[in-house]
Amino acid sequence: MRHASFIARTVFVHNNDVEAACRILNRILGREDILDQFRRTRYFEKPFQFRRRINFERCKAIYNEDMDRKIQFVLRKNRTDPFPGSL
């Protein structure tokens, strides 16, 4: 993971709004699994822990995906005005 410094993982601050920049940076780091990997490699992960974590993540991903689909299915609608009669 060697990249040009101040090019990779860099966010510019606009209008002195440091917090917004930090939020963007942290969101990207979180989404890309960089922070999780950092935390995970602080201590050695024994093979049984690795196995359990991977299995758990797999199950969670399947559950989340199906749940998302279910929610989309329940929330689907085919009308122009979702709340007819209300202003």
């Binding site: 993971m1 510019f12 930090c22 990207i28 950092f38 490699t41 024994k46 991903a61």
Partner: protein, 202 residues
């Protein structure tokens, strides 16, 4: 006529339509070409395969902020862009080293020659009090004012590590009156690290 039908089919089958989260743009990696349909087999081949696998098998979530047309992120011209008359690559750097137990802030010039160093321990916080966000903020404010006395005004910030001082150190630097141009994360992360130490017993 046939082409219109194909467009509608494509629209109905579009993978990006099911399960799109807010603030996320879906990138479809499968090739969807539009060509003149000659026969049925050709038409079937041009259709995207129905995706019944997991999310991420053929589609990928890309952070939507990356596609916004704002100069939030550096590009090729960034090193030579001027900030207050100084090129980006020549701006002094504030290195913030955050750990669970301490926060160390080090000012270097663009070449990496250290100028000032200050940590929560030097600041007077001892033992567990070092590893607090208040200590980090106080340290950041002192080092910021010191840097201002030396004539350092416009800076880049580089943060490494995770800990309670991560956010508050940056905030403290801003409170001391420095103009922060960019925030970089240089946390050292490896996907094939040497074996780390054993886990702590609980």
């Amino acid at each position: 006529m046939l082409r219109n039908g194909l467009y509608n089919l494509l629209k109905n089958l579009s993978i990006s339509e099911n399960g799109v989260q807010e603030n996320v743009r879906t990138l479809v990696t499968s090739l969807t070409r539009c060509r003149d349909v000659v026969d049925r087999r050709e038409m079937l081949r041009s259709l995207p395969k129905p995706d019944e696998g997991t999310v991420g098998e053929r589609t990928m979530d890309v952070d939507s902020s990356i596609h916004e047309r704002t100069d939030r992120f550096p590009d090729i011209d960034t090193p030579n862009r001027l900030f207050n008359g100084i090129a980006f690559k020549d701006l002094p750097v504030f290195n913030i080293r955050v750990s669970p137990n301490n926060t160390i802030i080090n000012v270097t010039d663009a070449k990496g020659v250290p100028k000032i160093l200050r940590s929560c321990g030097i600041e007077g916080f001892k033992n567990t009090r070092k590893g607090t966000n208040i200590a980090a903020q106080a340290t950041a404010i002192t080092i910021g004012t010191k840097a201002l006395e030396k004539g350092i005004k416009t800076v880049r910030v580089r943060v490494r590590g995770l800990g309670p001082g991560r956010m508050s150190a940056i905030k403290g630097l801003q409170m001391s009156g420095l103009q922060i141009i960019s925030i970089t994360d240089s946390t050292r992360v490896s996907w094939c690290p040497p074996r780390p130490r054993k886990r702590k017993k609980l």
